[in-house]
Each structure stands twice: as structure tokens, then as C-alpha cells.
């Protein structure tokens, strides 16, 4: 393995882009870059055992140099195109139409891949997605069409040109499910895949190979270079090891690296993103959702509440499960504000056997057999009232105000001739389950009672006792087959972005007489690297009286 070539392979500036700009690469540094081509081919052929019929790959520099030859460093698309282009004429593969077709398909694939892994394209996709998302927060989402007709009228356009057509035609009234937005996300996903395949993986393959440099000149060309007079490469190696480097020596040359994981991690980032996207797609197509408002003491069947969200939503058997709300209650702060909602739920299977019981609250849902029940809302279902010792009557509470943090519920206890048109009675209002405010027939405030106190109150000659306040719990239910995949993606993304912070540093050194020539480079932390190198080289001991023999003996010992 020719080492200088290896070094050059270690050089690719980084992800997506060096491959799209051969214009810069070829004229600027023709010889070394060409070697990259050749080397890669050789390597590829060696590893794949000639699979894919890579003939005449050596012809890249000339042929590819003239043609478009974008991208394609390591995947050798130009030779392929050459082969299929020239093959038909030469008669080499004449008659083998299948082969030609195959070649065409492969060529198209390569072209598409190279187009997709183009960095400017990926960046403009990200910009477009960011812009659409911003637009999605500016335009009110999910309103009725009439809302947009009114807000973006045709005769008086916003900014002089934006009418409702601009909003409704591309579906920007529901931005995050509009075909434009989803299409861009899908495009980004393909770009991710293409970039990983054509750019990231080859870079890592190259970075993994460690190699020595045999000429002081190429070492001095590194981003960081220094020479240590009267030093020994073995001492340097030991010190490098102390700093966490993997060190290899062969004869007078040394190669050391650390943080190789930092090269792998970006691939992991891309794969994790793909996982998240795949999981989100599955969530969007294969999940069920439902929400239900159940008064305390009643039951419902899961399957009645759940509505499928996409064409992949198949109802599992557990949808026969029946949920019984044993109790709904709230806890309050001293100031009277709600601190937490609780619902005591029991699950019964088809045979009526209780399979699970749990008290859920906000931030603590119930999970059973693939579905999840969340505590999300509450309501006031009914008031149990005794009038003059009769009853108790159940009075249904009606929500009077739903929006905002503060809710308001009210009911009316009719007094006499309930058949007549203008019914008068006692009004009862409540903001929560704790206290009920009572008003008399004229609408005058009478008093406040707590359901727990059982304290009677006298209104218009009637003795009213509030026995109990029955709340209803607002539950959200869902099944989401995408969650495990999305979570796997989340975990991988966190891990790999952290690892991506690591910098892959490489150091080469060469014993040149009594002098050690050191060079190194790193892909991320450039300032820290040169500082670390300076600190590290300061520690290399200076050999006061050395002659060539001692060094030689050391080398042979190594």
C-alpha cells in the first residue's frame, strides 16, 4: 500500500462537498488527486472481488476529466458511463441488451445520487423547510376557508399581492401536512441517504486506514507542523499515548490518531434522522387517536373512541378493552389553583376481568397493550343536590366558558311549575369542583358552599344541600406504532451528535537523523489541537548526547 496515497486519501475535506467540485480539485492538484481515484478503484476491486465487472477503471482521470465527472470519486461512475457508452460501439458487450439496460439504470442511479448528495441542494432544502415552517407559524393554521377569504381578500391583498389563493392552493392553511412541505421533507430524506452513501461512508472508509508518511516534506505540509531537534520518535510515541492517541510506529515513521469516532458519528446522525423520519411517517399513517370526556363512574370501550389516522391503521384486539373511571379528582394549591388532575381507571377485558388499574395524572399516562391513555382535560359533569330533604337530584352542569385557563360551569335548579315558559330557579355556578356559588331566583348572590361540607343553605324558602360534585375526566387515547422507531432515532441522534463533537486528529512523525519532524491535522478543534500539540511537544525530552548509533539501535529494537 503506497503510503503517500493513503495520506492523500485521509485528506478529503469532509462530508458532502469535496465531491461536487472536481473543477477545483482536478486543475489545482492534479497528481495527488488522481492518485486518489486510482487508489480507490484498486481498493474497491480488491475488496469486492471484481464484482460489478469493473473493467478499465484506470481510465478515469482522462475520460472523467473531460466529461462531467462530478461526484463520483469512490463510486467510479465515470468508468461505468464510459463502459456503457463505449461498450455498444466497440461490440464488447454487443447483443447484451440486458447489460446495457442495466448499465443505463446504474448510470441513472449514479446521476441521481450525485445530484441528491449535492451540498448546495441539501442546504437549500433545509433553508426551504425552515422558511416553510416559519410561514406555518405566521399563517394561522387549520381554519375554515372562509377565514382565509376574509383575512387575505382578493381586492385588498396583504403586501400588495398575497391573496387567499396563495394560501389555499399550495395547502398552506395546513402547512405541516401540505404536499409541498412533506415533499420537501421526503426530498431531504433522500438527500440524506444519498449523501451518506456517496460521501460519508467513503470518507470513513478512508479515514479508518492508518498510514505512515515517509517524506518529511509531506509531513511539513500539514496544518500543524514542527520539527524537534535532538529528539527520539519513541519518546514522542509514548507521550502521544499518554494523551490518548493510538500510536503506530514502523521504522523511522510514526502515525497516531484519536477521536476516530468523530468521523463515524455524522453517519449516525444521518441514519438517526432517517429513523425519526421513518417513525414519524409510520406515526402519521398507522396510528389511532381519540379523546373522550367521561363522567366519574361511567365506562367506555376503547374501540368506540379511537379513530384511525391513516391507511395503515389496523385495530388490534385490545380495542375491546373497557375502561371504567372509578374516580376523578383534583388537588389544589393553598391559593386555590389546581395543582394536579387524577383519574382512577380500571381496564376490563371482554370477559369482564379487571386486567389493570392505575391512577393517572398529567405527565403520568396509562399504557396497556399498545395504547396509552392520557389525562388531558376535565369538566364538571353533574351536581347532586337535595332540596328540602328530597332527592338527591342529579343536575347536569353546562360549560359556560370553555376557552382560557379558567373554566366556568353552571346549572339551574328549577323551583315550581317547571312546565311554564319562563322557568325561574336557583342558579349554581362553579369554577372547579371545590366550591359552588349559589344565586337566588332574582339572580342575587346568596352564598358559597363546598360539596364536602354538607352545610345547608336557605334560598327562597328552600333548604338546599349540595351532596356531591361529580367531575368528568377528559382523556386522550392513542396507539402509535411509530414511537419505538422515533425513540430509537432520538437516542441515536443524541448520542451521535455528542460524539460528533469529538475531533478526529491525526499525527505523523518521521525520524530524520536526530531530528523528529512532526505534522498533524484535525477536522474540528483546530485551535485546541495546535495548543495541545505545543504542550505535548514541549514534553518530548531533548537528547543531549546522541549519536546515530543509539537511534539506530532504538529503531531496530522497535
Amino acid at each position: 500500500m503506497p503510503s503517500p496515497t493513503c495520506y492523500l486519501l485521509l485528506n478529503p475535506a469532509c462530508s458532502c462537498r469535496s465531491y461536487q467540485r472536481p473543477g477545483l480539485l482536478l486543475p489545482a492538484a492534479p497528481t495527488p488527486r488522481r492518485r486518489v481515484h486510482v487508489y480507490c478503484d484498486a481498493q474497491r476491486r480488491g475488496s469486492s472481488g471484481g464484482g460489478g465487472g469493473g473493467v478499465k477503471r484506470e481510465a478515469i482521470p482522462a475520460g472523467a476529466g473531460k466529461a462531467k465527472k462530478q461526484v463520483v470519486f469512490f463510486d467510479a461512475a465515470p468508468p461505468l458511463s464510459q463502459r456503457s457508452g463505449g461498450g455498444g460501439e466497440d461490440g464488447e458487450v454487443a447483443g447484451k441488451k440486458e447489460n446495457a439496460a442495466l448499465g443505463l439504470v446504474r448510470r441513472v442511479t449514479k446521476r441521481t445520487l450525485s445530484l441528491l448528495s449535492n451540498l448546495p441542494l441539501a442546504i437549500s432544502e433545509m433553508f426551504a423547510i425552515a422558511a416553510l415552517m416559519a410561514l406555518g407559524t405566521v399563517i394561522d393554521q387549520g381554519e375554515a376557508p372562509s377565514y382565509y377569504f376574509e383575512k387575505f381578500p382578493e381586492d385588498n391583498p396583504v403586501f400588495g399581492f398575497i391573496t387567499w389563493r396563495w394560501i389555499l392552493t399550495p395547502g398552506f392553511d395546513h402547512m405541516f401536512s401540505s404536499p409541498v412541505f412533506l415533499g420537501l421533507l421526503a426530498l431531504l430524506a433522500t438527500s440524506l441517504m444519498a449523501c451518506t452513501y456517496t460521501t460519508q461512508i467513503p470518507i470513513v472508509k478512508v479515514a479508518r486506514r492508518w498510514s505512515f508518511m515517509h517524506s518529511a516534506g509531506s509531513i511539513r505540509k500539514q496544518e500543524f507542523a514542527d520539527s524537534l531537534p535532538r529528539a527520539s520518535i519513541q519518546d514522542l510515541g509514548v507521550i502521544l499515548m499518554g494523551y490518548g492517541y493510538e500510536v503506530f510506529t514502523k521504522g523511522p515513521s510514526l502515525y497516531a490518531f484519536k477521536g476516530l469516532a468523530g468521523r463515524f458519528a455524522p453517519i449516525g446522525v444521518h441514519i438517526a434522522m432517517l429513523f425519526i423520519m421513518a417513525g414519524a411517517t409510520l406515526s402519521a399513517t398507522g396510528s389511532f387517536k381519540g379523546s373522550v370526556d367521561v363522567p366519574q363512574g361511567l365506562n367506555f370501550v376503547i374501540g368506540d373512541v379511537m379513530k384511525p389516522k391513516g391507511f395503515l391503521s389496523f385495530a388490534p384486539d385490545v380495542f375491546n378493552t373497557e375502561v371504567h373511571v372509578n374516580r376523578f379528582f383534583m388537588e389544589y394549591y393553598d391559593s386555590g389553583e389546581v395543582s394536579q388532575f387524577y383519574s382512577d381507571l380500571s381496564l376490563f377485558d371482554l370477559d369482564g376481568k379487571e386486567v389493570m388499574r392505575k391512577t393517572i395524572k398529567v405527565n403520568d399516562p396509562l399504557r396497556y397493550g399498545g395504547f396509552t391513555i392520557y389525562q388531558t382535560d376535565w369538566g364538571f359533569s353533574a351536581l347532586q343536590v337535595k332540596k328540602n330533604g328530597e332527592g338527591p337530584f342529579n343536575l347536569a352542569m353546562a360549560p359556560l366558558k370553555l376557552n382560557g385557563d379558567k373554566k366556568l360551569f353552571g346549572t339551574l335548579l328549577p323551583l315550581e311549575n317547571s312546565g311554564s315558559s319562563n322557568v325561574k330557579g336557583i342558579s349554581m355556578l362553579a369554577r372547579d369542583l371545590q366550591s359552588i356559588v349559589l344565586y337566588d331566583q332574582e339572580g342575587k348572590f346568596v352564598g358559597v358552599r363546598r360539596p364536602s361540607s354538607k352545610l345547608p343553605i336557605e334560598i327562597d324558602g328552600n333548604e338546599i344541600v349540595i351532596e356531591d360534585a361529580i367531575g368528568s375526566t377528559g382523556l386522550d387515547l392513542k396507539t402509535d406504532p411509530g414511537v419505538p422507531i422515533v425513540y430509537a432515532g432520538f437516542g441515536a441522534l443524541m448520542l451521535t451528535t455528542c460524539i460528533s463533537y469529538l475531533s478526529h486528529s491525526q499525527i505523523w512523525a518521521l525520524q530524520d537523523g536526530s531530528t523528529v519532524v512532526v505534522g498533524g491535522k484535525t477536522n474540528r478543534a483546530k485551535l485546541e489541537f495546535s495548543e495541545e500539540m505545543n504542550r505535548l511537544l514541549d514534553k518530548v525530552p531533548e537528547l543531549i548526547s546522541v549519536n546515530e548509533n543509539t537511534i539506530d539501535s532504538k529503531q531496530s529494537a522497535a
Binding site: 469532509c14 462530508s15 451540498l119 415552517m133 407559524t137 398529567v362 451528535t497 455528542c498 485551535l527
Partner: protein, 321 residues
């Protein structure tokens, strides 16, 4: 009451200390000879750090929950995070340009938090049911740490742009200088000093551009490292938020405005990191992207709260006009 007084005292101590630190910074920048003052400015930063920490701890003790439930507390936490950021390179004992960004940023956030604008928010509030989770600590602290880090990184990039285009500064000064004048001012002076001292010591006065180049390289490198760190923290913060949302709201992603803008921020800095892989775009072009990111973070952090829309309405406030 005791806690309230304590918090009051601590905010005042930290604010006045950091004002002194800023003054010292200015003096040392203008009068190089007073080297001893530099040490005292570091001591001042440490004093500020302890008083902010003390403030947060007393808030925690008095309210019984992690002190990140409203905008005021989050701003205080932001300046605390900026301080942490200020300390990291100092511990590593490497010379850096971060302190020129972090010190004024700390005073600005703190000044804004304690100013009369948000007085009604100074009270510690109770936690609504949705916030009662261990995830609060993880998600919100990560988000604020990442905001602080990304703000510093993008300011470094903006400083790079200013220095790079110093000749046509008029163009920029109109647009951005009013927002960032303070930090730029520092960097400008730092730069002039670097240049002047370099000119004194070298015999080749024909190389002024070399020092400019070196400073730009340094700023570029620092902003890249700082933004990478902030991006990592932002990723963790957003994902923790998503997991939490799946526990509390029933879906890991709701396209809530705050979420969406956090994602936009993430995308912008992802673009920054990708643009750096192109040697041609490194430097100026990527610095442009990072400077856009600066504005986006403020929209995400403040703009959404100002509108008070969506599910993240806990930190919302109204301007008393």
C-alpha cells in the same frame, strides 16, 4: 419574605458586580498597562456567578421546584449559563475571545430581566400540572444552555463579519450595530490592540493584514466550536422536550409555534455546520448563516413568548404599554 429579600439582595449584588466588571474591561482595553485590573475583573465574574447561583438556589428552596417556570427565571438562568460558558475555557487555561462576548451578554440579559419591564413576572409562580415532571429540569435547562451557547457562537460569527468587512462598515452598522454594538466594540478594540502591539514588536509593518487574518481565523474556529457545542445541547434539549411531550400531551411533536421555531433554529445551525464542510464557504458565508441564527434564537426564545400562543404559553408575558 426572607427568601424574597435574599433574592432581591443577590440580584442587586450580581448586577452591580457585573457592571463593575464591564467598566474594568473597558478600562483595561483602553489602558493596557493596568494588568492587575484584569484579575480583578475575573474575581468580579466569580462573585457574580456566586450571587446568581445563590439566587437560583434560594428560588429553588422557596418555590420547591426547579427555578425555570417563567421568563424571568429563565433569563436569570440564561445569564448563569453564559457565565458557565465563560468559565469553560478559563478552566482549560486557553486564551480565548469568549469573555468579550459573555461578559456583556451576561449584563444585558440580567439587566433586561431585572429591569422594570417584567416586574410582574418576578414572583415565583406555581407549577401548572403539565410542568410537574422531572423532564422540566432536563428540557428547559438544556434549551437555555443551548441558547446561551448558540448566542455566543453566533455573536462570534457576527464579530467575524464585522471585522472582515470593516472597510464597508457603514453598510453593517445601520443594520446590526445597534443590536450588537457592545460586543463589536470590544472586539474592535481588541483587534486594534492586537494590531498595534504586533506592529510595535515586528519589523515588518507591511503585514497588518496578517493579524486581521489571524483574528478572523481564531474567531471562526471559536464560533465553530461553540456552535457545535450549542447544537449538541439544542438537539438534546429538543429531543427531551419531544419525549416529555409524548408523556404529557400525547404526541411527541405537535407543530406548536415554540417547537417549530426551535426546529427552525436547529435547521439553521445544521445549515451552518454543513456549510463549513465546504472550504469555500467557511468563514464569511457560514458566519452569515450563524448571524441569521442569532435573530432566529431571539424569535424562538422571546418572540413566541411575546405572542403567547401555543402550548408553551407558560413563559408568556405582555409588555406593559
Amino acid at each position: 419574605m426572607l427568601f424574597a429579600t435574599l433574592e432581591h439582595i443577590l440580584t442587586h449584588i450580581s448586577f452591580s458586580t457585573i457592571s463593575i466588571v464591564i467598566t474594568i474591561h473597558l478600562i483595561t482595553l483602553l489602558v493596557r498597562e493596568l494588568g492587575g485590573l484584569r484579575d480583578s475583573s475575573e474575581k468580579g465574574m466569580i462573585a457574580t456567578f456566586f450571587s446568581i447561583t445563590g439566587f437560583l438556589v434560594s428560588r429553588w428552596a422557596s418555590s420547591g421546584h426547579f427555578p425555570l417556570s417563567n421568563l424571568y427565571e429563565s433569563l436569570i438562568f440564561l445569564s448563569w449559563a453564559l457565565y458557565i460558558l465563560h468559565m469553560i475555557p478559563t478552566i482549560q487555561n486557553s486564551k480565548n475571545d469568549l469573555s468579550t462576548i459573555t461578559t456583556p451578554s451576561t449584563i444585558l440579559t440580567q439587566g433586561f430581566a431585572t429591569s422594570g419591564l417584567l416586574t410582574e413576572m418576578h414572583q415565583s409562580t406555581i407549577l401548572v400540572p403539565a410542568l410537574q415532571s422531572q423532564w422540566l429540569m432536563m428540557h428547559v435547562s438544556m434549551m437555555l444552555l443551548s441558547y446561551a451557547t448558540l448566542l455566543c457562537g453566533s455573536l462570534l460569527s457576527a464579530a467575524l463579519l464585522i471585522i472582515r468587512f470593516r472597510k464597508n462598515l457603514d453598510f453593517f452598522s445601520k443594520k446590526k450595530k445597534n443590536v450588537l454594538s457592545k460586543t463589536f466594540f470590544f472586539n474592535e478594540i481588541e483587534y486594534f490592540y492586537a494590531k498595534r502591539s504586533a506592529l510595535k514588536s515586528t519589523l515588518f509593518p507591511s503585514f497588518p493584514n496578517y493579524y486581521k487574518y489571524q483574528l478572523i481565523e481564531r474567531l471562526d474556529s471559536w464560533s465553530y466550536r461553540v456552535i457545535s457545542l450549542g447544537f449538541t445541547l439544542l438537539t438534546i434539549g429538543i429531543l427531551c422536550g419531544a419525549v416529555w411531550a409524548n408523556e404529557a400531551w400525547g404526541s411527541y411533536w405537535n407543530w406548536d409555534p415554540k417547537e417549530t421555531w426551535a426546529f427552525i433554529t436547529w435547521t439553521i445551525f445544521a445549515i451552518y455546520l454543513h456549510s463549513r464542510t465546504n472550504p469555500n464557504w467557511k468563514g464569511t458565508k457560514s458566519a452569515f448563516v450563524a448571524s441569521i441564527g442569532f435573530l432566529i434564537i431571539w424569535i424562538c426564545y422571546f418572540g413566541i413568548n411575546l405572542l403567547g400562543i401555543g402550548l408553551h404559553s407558560y413563559g408568556s408575558f405582555t409588555l406593559p404599554i
